[in-house]
Amino acid sequence: MRVTAEQLATQQREISVAEFFTKNRHLLGFDNPRKALLTTVKEAVDNSLDACEEAGILPSIRVKIEVVAGRDGATLPPAQADRFIITVTDNGPGIVKEQVPRIFAKLLYGSKFHRLRQSRGQQGIGISAAGMYGQLTTGKPVRVISRTSPGRAAHSFAIQINTQKNEPVVLEDNKIEDWEHPQGTQVSIELEGRYQRGRASVEEYLELTAVANPHIELFYETPEGNLIHHKRGVEVLPRPPKEIKPHPYGIEFGMFLKMLQDTKAKLLGVFLSSDFSRVSANAAGEICKEAKLSANARPRDVVGAAAEKLFSCLQNAKLMAPPTDCLSPIGEEAILAGLYKQIRGEFYTAVTRSPQVYRGNPFIIEVGLAFGNDPKLKKEEPEEPAAPLAEGESADGEDDVQLARLMRYANRVPLLYQQSACCTFQSVVETAWKLYGMSQSRGAMPQGPLVVFVHMASSWVPFTSESKEAIADYDAIRKEIKLGIQEAGRRLGKYIRKREHAKDEWKRRNIFALYIGEVAEACGRLKKGSISVDRLKKQLLQMAEERTGGEETDRILRKQREEEERREHTIVVTPSGAEGAIPKLLATEAPPADGAAPAMTTEPGAPDAAPAVQASLFPDVAPESKAKRKNKKAARAPGAVESRTSRLTKSQPTLFGKDAEQIKKEKPKSNKKPGRGK
């Protein structure tokens, strides 16, 4: 039996946003509770950053995750809890009172969709989707406090979304005269989630954000009650990206049809030249002629075959590549600052490529590398007492293979999922890292203590899916990434070769010294004590020194080379300090007095070594105890990159008034960083 149109009509109705959301939550990054927690943080933080930057404010952002007590009043440990409150506070421009409800409780409402410009958010779906997820899983409204200037009062809202109508419902709307922040926005969302550390965790996301955005200051209050502080590394805001009109080469036919309908232009010729970039009035005329259409036709009337013809003529027209000043790369200095700030290593370099175009979309690739273990840390750790190895044992850790870590970004936003599907990953594994002194198995990441940073800035980043987790594989993009990696890799290779050479010499002399002792003593025994073992030893050592260039080695190792060439946008860290393009804010960091606390945090009583220019939102943070720091060091896996970030226990100072008491005292614990090492 066939279904009639009438029967179908009874089933046809508007799909509610809630339904749409529930069916498509995976597209929006809410596929499981763990991801939902991260996505919510991410949407709020991205918005804060976008807003601050647009307003020209150096962002200072605080993220807090709390476990919600169960109905019986008991609070589960974070790893077992399933309900959380996420609060994100910024020092941004604030949101005018009237807009708040729609922004936070209406899907597809935002300021960024209607323009083609590099920004973090795009579809106006982010924060309201997070709010909706929270509402669907806990029934709780989104809470927002916002203040647009110190002179005005703050407003606090509790808003829900009417899931049938996709309209906000305001439950509470209060004026707060004495909000503790002079300006900014605070969003709280209660949701069902799962908290986990390690790969693709909130912690990792924030750390990655801090790397790619060294101009921001980030505080993160973990559900365990720790406070992680990512300091600001540079004081300059990224150049604000300009808005551009789409380039004809980057437009799809469906979009083109829509533009024909939506345009404000009355004439076809004007439409072409005003709504697209790089189409001059002249070119527009020629394109119309080519398509056998009048330049004076009404755009809205161009449909069907005519539109198709026009579209293909537009595609085939010889046009200049789109302007690239709409892009805002992070910049070599800032990448360097971010890497240096967050990752403990011995070599850093950064490359910003010049703009390129894929399918009419301008883009810029940036690559950074951080390599090695912090020589300062190495020096501090007292050498383990020589434990003789039994047969079959090998020196500690040598058989563990540590793979390099890839940090992926699109428009400064870290990408945490689907690494292997990402164009950046493909490019990294296809690079012959052996050329740069790294080992690598076929089709795998290089091995060793290496961080590879890849950023794509574009007015339109081609993601493989709606959830924006991996960059699609375009030849032009892949080629650029590889070129960037090669440039940075060559610098790394040069450094490694130099270092290896010095190490080799050193190892030789060292080994010779050890072996010579054995040899001389064996000689003494063979000669039944009739010779001076000490003299023999001395003679042989002298010879070793002469033959293996001892002095030269010492010089290289102690970095006493005066002619040390200045490498551009490269930092090299040696036991005696860092040299190269060290960011100013971080350069002033006093070297640790006792050599025990390398740049982790300021000492108690000492003035803050890196005063933030923008008054920090959350200035008073408690330095953690020395004992804990020791602990941390012990837990540090060899070869693990470790952040220069301070992790602070929240014990004395009141950070957020009443909340402070709720936070439990932290038990000492290891500082194994997530997503690291093995």
């Binding site: 003789p388 190895l389 030789r508 080994i511 072996y515 002792g517 001389a520 023999l536 042989l540 070793a544």
Partner: protein, 370 residues
Amino acid sequence: MSPKAPIRKPAKDVEGRLVGLAEHVIECARTNKEPAFHIPVRALSNVEFSKSRRIIELKKAKTERQLLSLSTAKKFMQTMLVGDALSVLQREGLSRSLREIYYRTKHTIEGSNENTFDGQEESDPIIEDLEVTLEALREELHVRAEAAGSLVGPMTIVDDGDTIDCARLGKGGYSVPSIVEPHDVHIKKCTADFVLLIEKGTQWNALNEDKFWKRFNCVLLTGNGQPPRGVRRFARRMHDEYKLPVYVLVDNDPWGYYIYSVIKQGSINLAFESMRMAIPDAKFIGLSSRDPQSHGLPRNVGIKLNDKDIARARELKGYPWFQKKEWQLEIDFMLKSGLKYELDSLANKDFRYLTTDYLPKKLKDKDWLD
């Protein structure tokens, strides 16, 4: 009759040669020269088959082992340590095993957590290096290998002052020690007509149980697989001192061929010892790849050659000492049949087939390969 195998003179003043290692180092240090030992290369590329003497001999290639080179420094140090340990054995008149020398020389290098030796596989080659470099045999260096040989037959020997009648040792036989130089083991009397050197201990057991040696007046000798040095050396001494022919009985596989060839002309690794160990007149009595056919062994007691066997057989075919036509045919025949046979498979015909039929017939017909 083919020319006699050359007799090597025993090494004199082994201790002096070991002390010489130290003297070299001391002299170099004094004259500011880099200490280095020159060690004969122990590889196929550096051995040759002497047609006239019919043994494998070492050629002249040497490697330099320097103290001040990254790749050889550790080995240099190890060489000194082993040399020192060996000199102690000389001085104190002891003989010890490879393993004990490994343990004796193993320690942590002062100021590091590096071991002088990580495993015995590092110290064993050093001892071989010293054997070739100092031209002293392992026995002369007082290094014992495992005693894994058994002997039975009409002979009387004096071992460590004890007189042993090898015809009265029951099922166990005389356990051949690893050092069997005249000084250690004296052959007092031997009335046997030949020596039968058997690859497998199981077959030796069977032959002894059947008293094969009584019926055929021979010495039964086995090394349980690749015969250890003591067994080879002892066979050579019986051959030299009592003019006994030596017949080799092995499984019919490439490994058996190789065992035979080591007994006959020495091994590649220890080519310098051929002069004292090899028995160029030794004969290959079986199992030949033709035997299964001539003795009516069914195909189904054969074992398919695996890839390794085939590769090994081809390799053997290329060795200069397997170039005789009979040998090329023998190996080809095995490759063509694609099968190998164990000595044990003769039991398929009869439990006593080896003693009552196979060997008597072989000996009667002089059916062996040279």
